[in-house]
């Protein structure tokens, strides 16, 4: 998979035929620069895209100075996979049995968190429409390092049954750095447990470097994202 990704990273962004936009998408009103009055009567000028969001892009996280320390970190990371409770498609239904006693993923140190700030694993559970992709990117960027992405089901791999849809993306790793795919339509909860186990092995081996890949190839990912998200009305990096 790494070779394939490198091949695609080499490809210039213009290789895709791009459809021309027929209308200009205006920026949302609350994101426009404007003058506001503070509670104490001052008039101040605000530019929400500059003032409310961090403008710096993501940075590459370098490994610890010795191997043994990095291995310790990776062991700790692998043993506490906290999943963001964000179901993007029908695959989210497979999460419920995992949370409950029958499959009980909690015994592997896997739990679900309500906010991106507390999660380090984003499971893209099935097809992603363009509208959801926008939210998924924002959720992913708000997660703190180290963070991982797992693509669930055939829809994330090659479009699955939505291969000819006008509104779903067909290849998730064009837009987000995927560490692991779990095949199936839908994968059973057992397959998810196996997938989480494989992800743990990748993390232990120091190979789950998705977040760093995202930081290194940030412009490439942004170009791809902006190609499908036509109404880009948010900051480039919403940390």
């Amino acid at each position: 998979m790494k070779d394939e990704l490198e091949k695609r990273l080499d490809r210039r962004p213009n290789d895709h035929p791009q459809r021309t936009a027929l209308k200009d998408i205006p920026v949302r009103e609350e994101l426009l620069p404007r003058t506001v009055k503070t509670p104490d009567g001052q008039e101040i000028r605000i530019d929400p895209l500059q003032d409310y969001y961090c403008q710096a892009g993501p940075t590459v996280q370098t490994p610890a100075y010795t191997r043994i320390i990095e291995d310790l970190f990776n062991w700790a990371r692998a043993e506490s996979l906290w999943i963001l409770g964000f179901g993007t498609g029908c695959g989210a239904i497979e999460m419920r049995p995992l949370m409950t006693p029958r499959f009980d993923a909690y015994r592997y140190g896997i739990q679900w968190r309500p906010t991106p700030r507390q999660a380090n694993l984003l499971v893209i559970s099935g097809y992603l429409s363009v509208k959801t992709l926008k939210r998924a990117i924002r959720a992913y960027e708000q997660m703190q390092n180290p963070k991982y992405v797992v693509g669930l089901g055939s829809c994330t791999i090659n479009g699955g049954m939505y291969w000819d849809s006008y509104n779903t993306i067909k290849c998730l790793d064009e837009y987000m750095p995927v560490d692991l795919y779990i095949t199936g339509c839908m994968p059973r909860p057992e397959a998810l447990l196996q997938g989480f186990d494989d992800l743990k092995k990748l993390i232990r081996a120091g190979k789950a470097e998705g977040a760093n890949r995202y930081a290194e190839n940030f412009d490439w990912y942004k170009t791809n994202q902006k190609r499908v998200i036509r109404d880009w009305d948010m900051p480039d990096y919403s940390w």
Partner: protein, 179 residues
């Protein structure tokens, strides 16, 4: 249902009556008669629930068909009111005052078929397709497959087989006897 049709046929000029099931029938109505008919059905005949409002693109006949499906809870029966619109600059009167939920359907039809409903709340806001700049995707002259190929990156290696041809090749490798 027959008696209902017999009663309403004359005053509202209903045509093309189809009894799909004992408890489901369809009628076609002219545009100016739609609102009186819906009001009559809602207030006097007990069809209080708007089940759905949807459209069909009859591109060969150059028109859109709107279907208002109403449900009568007390008698457990449905009636579908059909209405034909010209396809060019399709526009229809909003019925959001009769059923507030119609506003959502009208917003969807505006986005997916490009049928305008002037006066309907938030009808021109993006609904599902954010920043859509092409033809409305449910129109039949919109080429979905071509759009999907052009707009979204694909992973190489995906094969699509026509089931009939695939089975023929499997079962009759030498070509078979038929044409």
């Amino acid at each position: 249902m027959e008696t209902l049709y017999a009663r309403l046929k004359e005053p509202f000029g209903l045509t093309d009556w189809v009894l799909q099931k004992p408890d489901l029938c369809f009628v076609t109505v002219a545009r100016e008669q739609l609102r009186p008919l819906l009001l009559h059905l809602r207030d006097l005949e007990g069809f209080t629930h708007l089940v759905l409002l949807t459209a069909v693109d009859w591109i060969e006949e150059d028109r859109f068909q709107l279907t208002y499906l109403l449900h009568d809870r007390a008698k457990a029966r449905d009636i579908g009111v059909r209405l034909m619109l010209p396809r060019e600059d399709a526009s229809m009167d909003s019925i959001h005052e009769l059923w507030p939920t119609a506003a959502t359907y009208q917003r969807e039809l505006r986005e997916m078929f490009g049928i305008d409903f002037p006066g309907s709340p938030r009808v021109n806001e993006d609904f599902i397709l954010e920043g859509w700049a092409d033809l409305p995707p449910y129109r039949r002259d919109f080429d979905t497959l071509q759009y999907a190929h052009e707009a979204y990156a694909e992973r190489a290696g995906r094969e699509t087989r026509d089931p009939a041809r695939h089975m023929k090749e499997q079962l009759y490798p030498d070509g078979g006897q038929d044409d």
